[in-house]
């Protein structure tokens, strides 16, 4: 972008700051200004036109510096663009592509893309057919997600939502997908933690963090998810599958509410502006599974929304639920009971994930879900203090084992095939009344072995691929399961 003088000479239009209220500036002049156009102040600050009337132009400014009355403004005849390119991989940037931390040899990419584009139409979209591996067994087995799905991550604060995102990003980078983490109004420390996590796991080269701290200008924070989506679209068009985590949209909605109230827009429910639904819908609609010149490529979007005391019926919460293909509910009660991740399978929904599963996976999914439903009912039964029958006690004991199996240490990932193998062995042991837990205490060793021993991995993958139903798989595991596990342990 050129400087103030260049646009003054080339566009030959000028305005003067009339009044300002925080991030919103009112300007007189600029007769041919357009909505969403970028303007530059003589002091160097950049802003975007929100609206205008015959007397004033309303501008959202992307700077914390106060802008004095009478400051000159020029319009640029340009719309907001985000720098995109392979150079962004491993970088932490703000929505305008500026580095947020000291980074060696970072040069802003010269290629730029419009931040506000229309979502692709129905003809360039395809049915979701591939499963997205998150590395979290309860999701991969019970609430599967598809590549290109929009799945809402919802729950109270401090229930492990960001941890889940980190696990999903970790699992996806291993699949050579590009991951974009949009940190909206987060604390600097949280952004640093995310950076450290990516560095520690050597996945920085496939992750881009687009971030704005809570103390950054509200105009910039508002742009974060749009910039992240624009970068995602670039990588999709370059032939990559993209995972986009938007953490979180409740904060984004609050920032947008602040902008709208400062701009004197009429407040609606909970003081949010009337176009809050439109704002989020136009963003999320840009994700999906697409037919591109480089084949079928997807942007899987995981928007995060925070609830207050588990209330799923809030305004923003229900808005985003209606825009996504399901939600994973992180239950604070389960979290308090020590379940990790604290995903409540009964209150979670996945609308397209199951269609991506093979028959075997679907069988297992159905088995676990129906068993968990039964055990949950029985669990509720115990609250009455009634004497439990032997069969109830057995069911509850088995439920403990299944729940324990689905529990997972934070920030670790388990490959789907390994979790299928371990679950089938656990299930077979239960059916045979054996009190053995297949994974034992050395689960991390098993995961590492699976990742580092290609021969054992291939054997497991091949066995799973050749099996068409859960019953067959149980039979195979009875014969070969111990051997397969031994090949991992040795």
């Amino acid at each position: 972008m050129k400087d103030f003088k260049f646009y003054l000479d080339s566009v030959s239009e000028i305005g003067f700051v009339d009044k300002s209220s925080s991030a919103i500036i009112y300007v007189t002049g600029l007769p041919n200004v357009k909505p969403d156009e970028i303007v530059i102040f003589e002091t160097g600050e950049i802003g975007m036109v929100l609206s205008f009337d015959p007397d004033n132009v309303e501008i959202l400014v992307f700077s914390k510096n106060p802008i004095a009355h009478g400051t000159k403004v020029v319009r640029t005849d340009e719309f907001l663009k985000v720098p995109v390119g392979i150079e962004l991989l491993g970088k932490i940037i703000d929505p305008l592509g500026n580095p947020l931390t000291a980074m060696d040899a970072y040069k802003k990419p010269s290629l730029v893309r419009n931040i506000n584009t229309l979502a692709a139409g129905i003809l360039s979209r395809k049915t979701i057919t591939k499963q997205l591996e998150t590395g979290v067994p309860i999701v991969d087995l019970v609430m599967p997600l598809g590549i290109g799905q929009k799945e809402l991550i919802i729950g109270d604060r401090k229930t492990g939502k960001t941890n889940f995102l980190m696990q999903a990003i970790l699992a996806q980078t291993k699949q050579k997908h590009i991951c974009i983490y949009a940190a909206i109004g987060k604390k600097r420390l949280d952004i640093k933690d995310a950076e450290d996590f990516f560095k520690k796991n050597n996945i920085s080269d496939r992750v881009i963090v687009v971030a704005c701290g809570f103390d950054d200008p509200i105009g910039l924070t508002y742009l974060v998810p749009f910039a992240a989506m624009t970068i995602g679209e670039y990588f999709r068009d370059e032939g990559y599958d993209v995972l986009l985590a938007l953490d979180d949209l409740t904060t984004h909605a609050k920032f947008y509410r602040e902008i709208s109230l400062l701009g004197k827009k009429f407040p609606g429910r909970n003081s949010y502006p009337g176009d809050i639904f439109y704002t989020h819908a136009k963003l999320l609609e840009r994700a999906g599974n697409f037919v591109t010149e480089k084949g079928e490529k997807a942007i899987t979007c995981l928007p995060v929304v925070e609830t207050v005391q588990g209330d799923l019926s809030g305004y923003i919460q229900t808005n985003i639920m209606s825009m996504t293909d399901g939600h994973l509910y992180f239950d604070s009660d389960l979290f308090a009971k020590g379940r990790r991740p604290a995903i409540n399978p009964f209150l979670s929904v996945t609308r397209v994930g199951r269609q991506t599963q093979s028959t075997l996976k679907r069988d297992i999914n159905r088995e676990i879900l129906s068993f968990l439903t039964i055990s949950e009912k029985m669990q509720n039964f115990t609250h009455f203090g009634a004497e439990l029958t032997e069969s109830t006690k057995i069911t509850l004991a088995v439920a403990d084992k299944v729940v324990k199996f689905l529990d997972q240490a934070p920030l670790t990932t388990m490959p789907i095939n390994l979790s299928l193998l371990l679950f089938s062995m656990l299930w077979d042991n239960i059916l045979q009344n054996k009190n053995i837990e297949p994974m034992g205490p050395d689960i991390d060793k098993l995961i590492n072995a699976y990742k580092s021993k290609p021969q054992a991995k291939n054997e497991i993958d091949q066995t799973i691929e050749n099996t068409s139903s859960f019953n067959d798989f149980l039979k195979t595991m009875r014969e070969k399961g111990e051997g397969l596990l031994a090949s991992l342990r040795n």
Partner: protein
């Protein structure tokens, strides 16, 4: 006579933003003194503002036989204040501080070519060297010597350096 025409002479005598601002603050101070106490008369209140302005106002009152009771004066002041707020501003950036005669000439040119109801906002910036930048209704036109020289150096630098 249409009521607004009575202000014609006073309004057309205003040429710059500074003059309009001065008149506006004088009208404010006149109103505040006049309506501060019951006993204050219009003639006495006029002593609180510049003599030239007071004379112009008195001329309007006598020429148009306006009663100097407080109600009529209030109407007069309010209408005048509203009228002077409707001026359109032509901003000029010049390299020199123009004399009053120069300002008069520029304003006369504007009145003859565009019409009445325009005032000048003059800013001094020596770096423009000569000529003027004209800003009106958000349109920016640079007719300065600085720009001409910049263009000359950008396009014909080799020829100039020979």
């Amino acid at each position: 006579m249409k009521p607004i025409l009575i202000y014609f002479d006073l309004i057309t005598s205003l040429k710059t933003v500074d003059e309009v601002n001065d008149l506006s603050s004088e009208l404010d101070s006149l109103a505040s003194i006049l309506f501060k106490s019951e006993k204050m008369t219009f003639e006495k209140a006029l002593l609180s503002i510049r003599e030239a302005t007071a004379k112009k106002i008195m001329e309007i009152f006598s020429k148009n036989k306006i009663d100097s009771n407080k109600e009529a004066v209030r109407d007069f002041l309010e209408t005048l204040k509203n009228l002077i707020q409707k001026f359109k501003i032509i901003k000029l950036i010049l390299a020199f501080d123009p004399t009053y005669q120069t300002i008069e000439k520029i304003h006369e040119f504007v009145s003859e070519n565009i019409g009445i109801g325009y005032i000048l906002d003059i800013e001094i910036d020596e770096t423009v060297l000569g000529g003027s930048v004209v800003i009106f209704n958000g349109i920016y036109k640079d007719f300065t010597l600085r720009k001409s020289l910049e263009e000359a150096f950008a396009n014909k630098s080799l020829k100039l350096l020979k």
